[in-house]
Each structure stands twice: as structure tokens, then as C-alpha cells.
Assembly symmetry: C2
Homo-oligomer: 224 residues x 2
């Protein structure tokens, strides 16, 4: 998966969330592309990056319920209706967004009054206009309060969001986890026990997936 992560943040070094995600992105083949507020954009370079990517991820903290000014500036300088419709068609567009408020505040009747997905409507509209595939946003609520286990889960979810094949189904997800486990174990030549266990687990999971596929096919026939 040729993925491009466009990171919009006024001060990357000061953001524990972004530093954490940067480490996560390094574990994948995704290209990390930071929009440096101190530099001018080169439209030719930016457009080339977009054209080469199969999946485009916009990553930013939620500022006043939307993207930071730097991303809007980038959109205004780089994108045009013709460009997005001709060059971005059929690519995938995803959003990785982090918030300072907890999840419970993002509902009608709560503090914010809208879900994060509702607030990101402008980006879904962009995907819609460009005939891109819209990936459900990956929202990180209050990173600083995540437990170690939650951080590890986020690390996995984030990597999957960046590079797991589209669409996100039980099958693509399971295959991705298996591949990841194999990659990790092969790095450590001494872990033959882990490798053997993983191979067995892999076989079992592949088998379960086949069974699930058959059950699903049967259901489709019944329902069809």
C-alpha cells in the first residue's frame, strides 16, 4: 500500500500524540509528510506526492472543531477542482484526528453537540467530489490519558489505518495482523518457539477465515 500521511500541526515537536504516531508510521511503508509552517509549499512537489499515493491520510489535531489553518492553506494552494477530480479519483482519503476533549463530549446534546464525523463533513465532501473512497476517520480522544495497553492498541490501529488493504473487512484485518506478527517474529531469529506458535495460529486463523467465508456464502444464498 502506497500511503501518504500529510501531517498538519503548528509545532510537531511539542505534541506527544504526533511523536507517538510518527513512531507508528515508521513501522509501515507509509510516507510521512509534514507541512512545515516555516516553509512555502511547492505545488509541483505536493501534487506529485498526491499523484503517487494510493491512500492519502490527512492527520491533524482538532482545532476549533476543524483542521488547523496550515492544512487549509495547503488545500487552497495545492488543490483545484480539476486536479482532485482528474488525479485523485479512486484513491482513498482518510483522516487521523486527535482531540483534547473526551469522546463523551462529541454527541448531540453534549458539550460540542456534534460527532467528530459530523465535524469532518467538509473532508467527506471533498472525497465525494473527487470520487475518492472515504475511510472512516480514526479519532484519538485525549491521547495523554491512554493506558499502555490502549496505546499499544492505538499503535496497531494506526498502522492498519495507514497501510492495511482497502476495504477494512474481517479478512483483510486478520491477514494484516498475521503478516505483522510474522514480520515481528522473523526479526528475532532466536524466537523459534514464537515463530512456530505463530505459524500454527496463522494456519488456524486462515482455516477459520475459510469457514467464515463458507458460512457467509451460505447465508448469502439463503438471503439472496
Amino acid at each position: 500500500m502506497n500511503a501518504l500521511v500529510i501531517v498538519a500541526h503548528p509545532n510537531l515537536a511539542d505534541s506527544p500524540t504526533q511523536q507517538f504516531l510518527k513512531q507508528g508510521a515508521k513501522l509501515t511503508t507509509a510516507k510521512w509528510h509534514y507541512l512545515d509552517p516555516l516553509q512555502e509549499f511547492s505545488p509541483a512537489t505536493e501534487r506529485q506526492l498526491l499523484v503517487e499515493a494510493e491512500r492519502i491520510i490527512l492527520q491533524f489535531p482538532l482545532y476549533w472543531y476543524g483542521a488547523p489553518a496550515i492544512l487549509k492553506k495547503w488545500q487552497e494552494q495545492i488543490l483545484s477542482t480539476n486536479f482532485v477530480q482528474q488525479k485523485l479519483k479512486n484513491k482513498q482519503l482518510g483522516i487521523v484526528v486527535n482531540t483534547g476533549l473526551p469522546e463523551k463530549d462529541f454527541h448531540s446534546g453534549s458539550k460540542v453537540g456534534f460527532s467528530v464525523e459530523q465535524l469532518l463533513a467538509p473532508y467527506q465532501a471533498l472525497a465525494h467530489q473527487a470520487h475518492m473512497h472515504w475511510l472512516n476517520p480514526l479519532t484519538i480522544y485525549q491521547f495523554q490519558y491512554l493506558t499502555d495497553t490502549q496505546q499499544m492498541q492505538l499503535l496497531m490501529d494506526y498502522q492498519r489505518y495507514l497501510v492495511q488493504p482497502y476495504p477494512d473487512t474481517l479478512k483483510t484485518r486478520s491477514r494484516w495482523y498475521l503478516k505483522k506478527m510474522q514480520d515481528l517474529s522473523f526479526r528475532d531469529e532466536q524466537s523459534s518457539l514464537i515463530q512456530n506458535t505463530l505459524k500454527q495460529t496463522t494456519a488456524e486463523l486462515e482455516n477459520n477465515l475459510s469457514i467464515l467465508a463458507m458460512i457467509k456464502a451460505g447465508e448469502d444464498e439463503v438471503n439472496g
Copy 2:
């Protein structure tokens, strides 16, 4: 009505829509405040303007289904959670937005897939968080295709949006129109005939409003 119109546009002189609205704003007591992209903001000055206003209007063209970068930059530099909750509470927040696409494109299933109101959710969330009164946005679709009559109607609607007392009811609206007509006629000392007609119309309308109010009160009793 002490209204502040914050205008965000990268190049005001090149926008027929903004030039038209500027003329409209001049016919009211609203303060026109242009966010000059070539100048730095003075947080103290900007905050003072906000504190003094009873109604705050954000006015901009829809760029990539949201506000231009200059407005986002202003929000990031001027607003804070404490400031909006402590200083903007109970004020009114409105949006005047113009689009290059026609109204028919702003529906689910259409080109954009969202209504303008849905795309402006981040601003409604801001109003919600700040405990401000949210004014339904005034949307101007494809200004360049408006007929003379439609432009005149827009000029009236825009002035009402800027300074007509809150909330927008039949009564406040009628009173505003009457006031406007009287103001216009008093400018021309020779138009005594028009003045007399207007006075008569005013009396009739006031009378009708009283009758409407009585009918409404009666309905409320029946329904109450």
C-alpha cells in the same frame, strides 16, 4: 444592534460578492472588519472588538467546504476556550457564506453530499461551546447569476441579518422593514406623499401585528 462583521477573503477587491455586501453593510450600523492577509493580528484589538459586539458575523466564501485559511488562523491566534466561554457568552454568532456551486449541489446524494448548514457544523459547535445564540447561516449561492431583483432582496436580507433584533420573528422582521422604509423616505424631504403613505402603512402593519399577536395568544391558550 452592535454588530461586527469579520470578513475573511484572500483578495477582497477581486470579489464582486464581497464588494456588494460591503455596500450593504454601509447601509447599517454594523462594523465591517476585514482580516487583512498581509498584516499580523493584534490579539488585544481583535478581542476588544469581539467583546464590544452584541452580534458577531463571520463572512467568507466556502473554500473546500469550509472557511478560508485566514479565518482559521485568526481563530487559532485570537480565541481560547476561556475567552469564548467567559466573554462571548449570550452574544449572537452568525455566518454569511457564499458558494460557487448552486443550491442543488448541496444535498445528500448530490455533488457535494452535504447541506451548507452541515458543512458549517464546526461553527455551530463553537457557538454551542461558547453558549452563544446561533443564527441560521445566510448562504449566497452563485452571486454572479442573481437577477437585479434577487440582488435587491439579498441586500435587504443581508442588512436584516446584520442588525435586525434577535430573534428573527414576523414581528421583528416587519418592524425592521418599516423602520428601513421610514429612514429611506426621511432622507428625501420632497417625498411627503411617500411619507404619508408609509405612516399609514406602518399604522396598518402595527395593527395587523397586534391582531396576529392576539390570535397567537389565543392559540397558545387553546394549545397550552
